[in-house]
């Protein structure tokens, strides 16, 4: 394992020190592993998200004006604990309530559930929105359901803008839920990631193969295939996403994220192919992000997220945001 770290055990706390040093507009609570926005938010709904670490800039990089009020950082790939979430809710609630944005993983769901109960007991109004957008996981009531991946970023941005407008908790939750319902994602990997504490790749992948339908935790994908061209990968991903949801009805927000080990020149090459694959299916792209937004440590690969966007979503998407990971309008 080759990593720019001190020791596996301190990867998260070291990164938090760096975040604190690099970003004077957030406060880092080292005990509770929280990244908290300093932006004024009086009377506004506060968005709290969080999850295992290793997906940077998500979530800590999305803390700031117009997006998250706080992010809870769990250990690498391990959901944070209810204490952290409760501390976050307590720190950011200004009376208008707190929206938990939760990716659909058993650990995240259970821990946020407990935190919501605890926060409720302390008189904080808490609502939760779940993101479960990964089309490579079969959706079934018999299983844990779909994973939450890239749509989370778009939910956080859009709901954050609604909160910044002063909308009440019920509205912000409804908007977040709409984005979540309108989003679909899929990812592929050329290499595994290496969890620092584990010290070796989570799975082995021969030189000429790729994993199709991977998540963001180094778990293997739905199947292994021969390494394909960017063109064919784009066809496969876009095909699977478009088969799951009709994206021709409204323009989409497209997010092509690297998984941490893929350089931008490859992502742009992929996006060229994706853009064609979308066009050929009659899907219109209104807004685009290409870069590292939701990653999986040092994994090479990418994930595509599409969100079908009505006028309200687009307007909120375009509203000012000022975070380490997404910034425009101020």
């Amino acid at each position: 394992m080759k990593k720019l770290i001190n020791t596996p055990a301190t990867v998260l706390s070291d990164a938090l020190r760096g975040i604190a040093a690099a970003h004077p507009d957030v406060t880092v609570d080292f005990d509770n592993r929280l990244i908290i926005s300093k932006a004024s938010r009086e009377g506004q709904v506060a968005l709290v998200s969080g999850g295992g670490s290793g997906h940077e800039p998500m979530h800590g990089g999305f803390v700031g004006h117009g997006m998250l009020a706080a992010a809870c950082a769990g250990e690498i790939f391990t959901s944070p604990t209810p204490d952290q979430m409760l501390a976050a809710a307590t720190a950011v609630d200004s009376g208008a309530g707190v929206l938990f944005i939760v990716k659909n993983y058993t650990g995240d769901v259970l821990n946020f559930e407990m935190a919501a109960e605890l926060a409720g007991e302390e008189g904080i109004q808490v609502e939760t929105v779940l993101v479960a957008d990964d089309v490579s996981v079969e959706d079934s009531t018999w299983t844990a359901g779909r994973r939450g991946v890239g749509t989370t970023v778009i939910v956080e941005k859009v709901a954050g803008a609604a909160a910044a407008e002063g909308r009440p908790l019920a509205d912000v939750k409804a908007i977040a839920a709409k984005v979540s319902a309108n989003g679909r994602s899929m990812g592929i990997a050329l290499t595994s990631c290496t969890v620092p504490a584990n010290g070796k790749p989570s799975f082995d992948l021969p030189e000429d193969e790729m994993e199709v339908g991977v998540g963001i935790h180094g778990e293997p994908g739905r199947r292994r295939e021969k390494l394909a061209s960017a063109h064919d990968i784009a066809e496969e991903i876009v095909g699977a996403i478009a088969a799951d949801f009709d994206f021709t009805g409204a323009p989409v927000i497209a997010l092509l994220s690297g998984l941490g080990g893929t350089p931008l020149i490859e992502l742009y090459g992929m996006y060229g192919e994706i853009s064609q694959a979308l066009e050929s299916r009659g899907i219109t792209v209104a807004r685009t992000l290409v870069g590292d937004y939701i990653t999986s440590l040092d994994m090479a690969g990418c994930s595509l997220t599409l969100v079908s966007a009505d006028d309200e979503i687009l307007r909120l998407w375009d509203a000012p945001v000022e975070t380490a990971g997404l910034r425009w309008g101020r």
């Binding site: 295992g52 769990g74 739905r222």
Partner: protein, 213 residues
């Protein structure tokens, strides 16, 4: 060997479990790496190390308090699915043991069953979903059956441990329906479930502690 579980026994059990998870952490993480996210051993070892620290710093006065302390510590230190599930297990077991001093076989079974019940309530998994329940449910059932047939406590917990190990092994061919492994669909078959593996360790360390007491 005794016929009731004392506070000292429970304390010794959890310290043994902590030592064992530390020792088996790499293997548990290895199992989680095949069908999950490669953190189960690290997480549990971290949580149990915190439990031992807690027990050292403030030794609980009775079994219910100890179980509660363990549950709270796991919930606040582990994270992930297993932190919340094992945490609930101990919290609920502690509640079920409320008021008790030592636990005889029946009381032990009741506490464990209550703990397992809270895992079911939280996680909504069923037997055969390839989770820790596939080790824990057979263990509690075996404990009950042994006690019913008149076995001594030591023999009964040993039977529970054997059942947990068998349940763990039986997860190998299963296709997961809960937890991260479920994302893999058919590809989850052919691997032991890491949570079932750690649960089997939990029951085995109980058996080892009770039979050594």
């Amino acid at each position: 060997m005794t016929d009731a579980v004392t506070l000292a026994t429970v304390d010794a059990w959890l310290r043994r479990f902590a030592a064992e998870t530390a020792e088996q952490a790499a293997w548990l993480t290895e199992l989680d790496s095949a069908i999950g996210d490669a953190d189960h051993g690290t997480n549990l070892a971290r949580g149990m190390a915190a439990v031992v620290e807690k027990l050292d710093a403030a030794p609980p006065a009775d079994i219910p308090a100890l179980l509660k302390a363990v549950g709270m510590t796991l919930i606040s230190k582990v994270g992930g699915a297993s932190g919340s599930l094992y945490g609930s297990f101990f919290l609920e077991a502690g509640k079920a043991a409320a008021g008790a001093d030592d636990l005889d076989g029946r009381a032990l079974e009741a506490a464990l069953r209550a703990g397992v019940g809270s895992i079911v309530a939280r996680g909504k998994a069923e037997p055969g979903d390839k989770t820790m329940l596939d080790a824990l449910l057979p263990a509690v059932d075996a404990l009950q059956a042994a006690l019913t047939s008149g076995s001594a406590l030591g023999d009964a917990v040993s039977a529970a441990s054997d059942a947990a190990a068998a349940g763990r092994d039986a997860t190998e061919p299963l296709v997961a329906r809960k937890g991260r492994a479920s994302y893999l669909g058919e590809r989850s078959a052919g691997h032991l479930d890491p949570g079932a593996a750690s649960s089997a360790i939990l029951v085995k360390t109980l058996a080892d502690t009770v039979t050594a007491a």
